[in-house]
């Protein structure tokens, strides 16, 4: 069980993650969505103890009751791979070009599970089978450049699963993949989490993938978690104005035909994501928000219980 209590990550005056409070229980499948720079990746890295050296981390983080706030690299090394593992966004650059992928997958097995080289190789083969790698025996001895993007992502999933982690963090696992592979990788992750009873933190801005893979969702903006709840409920009936804007900005897969030679414009949220340094001290979304109130920019809204769902917005006061 992973418990974050008011966890913040900042770089000088720039806050990448503000007072995130979150509990991840065994078997949870939580999606984290938001634009680039919303703090999704920083949340994932914090759970790995891999926030950049320059970052100041405050608040509390406990893993199975063990206090990990301010823990050193050696403490985190014991947790990584076994308690929490991570899949990175770009499968090409996340694999050492000069190492056979089988060796890369065998590394944590030898180090954490104390397996011999032969045992680790056999286990790596099992993992390749489990993640649906075609021709797994031959793939173990290949180098990353000999594989397709989807195969490389399967290698990274096998690597992350090697030591049977309690939580798997997938940081935009499908962003760098071809559209036809995305669904398969998304479904694979959901199935693996289900079969192994493993918690999944699925970081993505692909709402369709999040809808398929997760049961719960957290929407982030400017370092804040602004809305949280069951995935279908949030996607069907978003409470926070940012979530509404995000859902409204999905391109229509069957757009209107050209009229007078002009295509209808793609829907957008007006304005741009502000730089981390000049975020409003109150609600981060103030300035772009369509329902903004006078005190939004200065007073931070509390997380409000909307009956099993939560959103942080002044405009929901009383009304919702």
């Amino acid at each position: 069980m992973f418990e974050l209590d008011q966890l913040s990550v900042s770089f000088g005056t720039a806050t990448a993650l503000r007072e995130a409070t979150l509990t991840i229980r065994p078997g949870d499948r939580l999606g984290v969505v938001g634009e680039s720079g919303s703090g999704k990746t920083m949340l994932g890295l914090s759970l790995m103890g891999m926030a950049p050296d320059a970052a100041q981390v405050t608040g509390r983080l406990t893993v199975d009751g063990q206090e990990m706030t301010g823990a050193g690299e050696a403490d985190w090394q014991r947790l990584r791979a076994r308690k929490v593992a991570m899949i990175f966004q770009e499968p090409m650059s996340a694999l050492n070009p000069l190492r056979r992928v089988g060796d890369t997958v065998a590394d944590p097995l030898r180090i954490h599970m104390g397996l011999s080289a032969a045992e680790a190789d056999a286990r790596a083969l099992d993992l390749f089978r489990e993640v649906g790698m075609p021709d797994p025996e031959a793939r173990l001895r290949q180098f990353p450049h000999e594989m397709s993007g989807g195969q490389r992502q399967r290698v990274l999933i096998a690597l992350a699963l090697a030591c049977d982690p309690a939580l798997l963090i997938a940081d935009e696992p499908t962003t760098a993949l071809d559209a036809n592979i995305r669904l398969r990788i998304t479904d694979l992750l959901a199935r693996l989490a289900d079969q192994r009873g493993m918690a999944l933190l699925f970081i993505s801005h692909d709402l369709a993938a999040v809808a398929r893979a997760t049961t719960e969702i957290a929407v982030m903006y400017g370092g804040d978690i602004v809305e949280r709840g069951a995935t279908p409920a949030v996607l069907k009936d978003p409470a926070h104005p940012y979530t509404r804007g995000l859902l409204g900005a999905r391109p229509d897969p069957a757009p209107q035909p050209r009229r007078n030679g002009k295509r209808p414009r793609l829907p957008t949220i007006p304005g741009t994501v502000p730089a981390l340094g000049d975020l409003a001290p109150g609600c981060r979304f103030s300035g772009r928000c369509p329902v903004e109130l006078a005190h939004c920019a200065t007073v931070r809204p509390e997380m409000r219980d909307l009956g099993g769902r939560f959103a942080a917005c002044h405009a929901l006061e009383g009304g919702a």
Partner: protein, 271 residues
């Protein structure tokens, strides 16, 4: 891909020098220690291809045996200095912080220390020998390789596959061995080739000063120093070892430059 000219010329020169050195292990035209005072300063002929020296020893045999000694000293010195330096550079990059600063500042001091001075110091304390020449040349190589390895390693540490290895629970030493070292091999090997040339020159200089190989074992530097007093009588005795040194140093230098051109994509684009 078109190979650069310096790589080709360097490879040919290096092959010639290494070939001569390897051949001398099995065979030399004559025994290079065999004195023949009646036949001193012989002109080149079918028996003595480059003639003989002031004691009647065959020059070709001495030069090839000298190549062997030079190569052995340079190889031992670069391997020793290169591995220690590379290990220190990897360590500095892996730990960072004050350890990195300390290692690199010590390397700076090592840089400031002239190799010859260090060799003379070693010779004064332990007596002149080939081993001390190797140690002195190895010593000056340590900071060179520490710098190259650290700079390259720091770059590799920012790669995503290193983050993935950390996420898989590998400690920084395992990461250095399995992920960093293979990926910094190219610049380190290029540097080793260049330092090989420097080591050949350093060995020649030390032998010339009498701080390297001791008689009768021939080296190019010692042949030069012995020929010095005979410059007016028999200048060819100085010219041949001199040419050999030039060929070997240039060969390894060009080979190193050529390898760098081929392995460093930034330089390729500039050309």
């Amino acid at each position: 891909m078109k190979l650069p000219v310096n790589l080709l010329i360097g490879a040919v020169l290096v092959a010639l020098v290494l070939g001569a050195a390897a051949l001398s292990l099995l065979w030399t035209p004559h025994d290079f220690t065999q004195l023949n005072v009646r036949n001193k300063f012989a002109a080149p002929d079918a028996t003595y291809w480059l003639g003989t020296d002031q004691l009647g020893r065959d020059l070709v045999s001495q030069l090839t045996a000298g190549a062997r000694n030079s190569m052995a000293v340079a190889l031992a010195a670069v391997l020793l200095g290169g591995s220690i330096g590379t290990a220190l550079g990897l360590l500095a990059a892996a730990i960072g912080g004050w350890v990195e600063d300390l290692v690199m500042r010590i390397a700076d001091i090592g840089f400031a220390f002239p190799a010859l001075l260090f060799a003379i110091m070693l010779a004064a304390v332990f007596g002149p020998s080939l081993t001390n020449a190797v140690l002195a040349i190895a010593f000056i190589n340590i900071p060179v390789f520490a710098r190259v390895a650290r700079a390259a390693a720091n770059q590799v540490w920012t790669r995503e596959y290193v983050a993935a290895a950390r996420a898989a629970g590998l400690n920084r030493f395992a990461i250095s061995k399995d992920h960093i070292l293979p990926n910094i091999a190219a610049p380190v090997i290029v540097q080793a080739t260049i330092e090989f040339a420097v080591a050949i020159l350093a060995e020649a200089a030390l032998s010339y000063l009498g701080l390297g190989a001791q008689p009768p074992s021939p080296t190019w530097g010692r042949m030069l120093s012995e020929a010095q007093t005979l410059m007016y009588q028999a200048p060819q005795l100085a010219v041949y070892p001199g040419l050999c040194i030039v060929a070997a140093v240039m060969g390894f230098g060009l080979l190193g430059d050529g390898l760098r051109d081929v392995t460093d994509p930034r330089l390729v684009r500039e050309r």
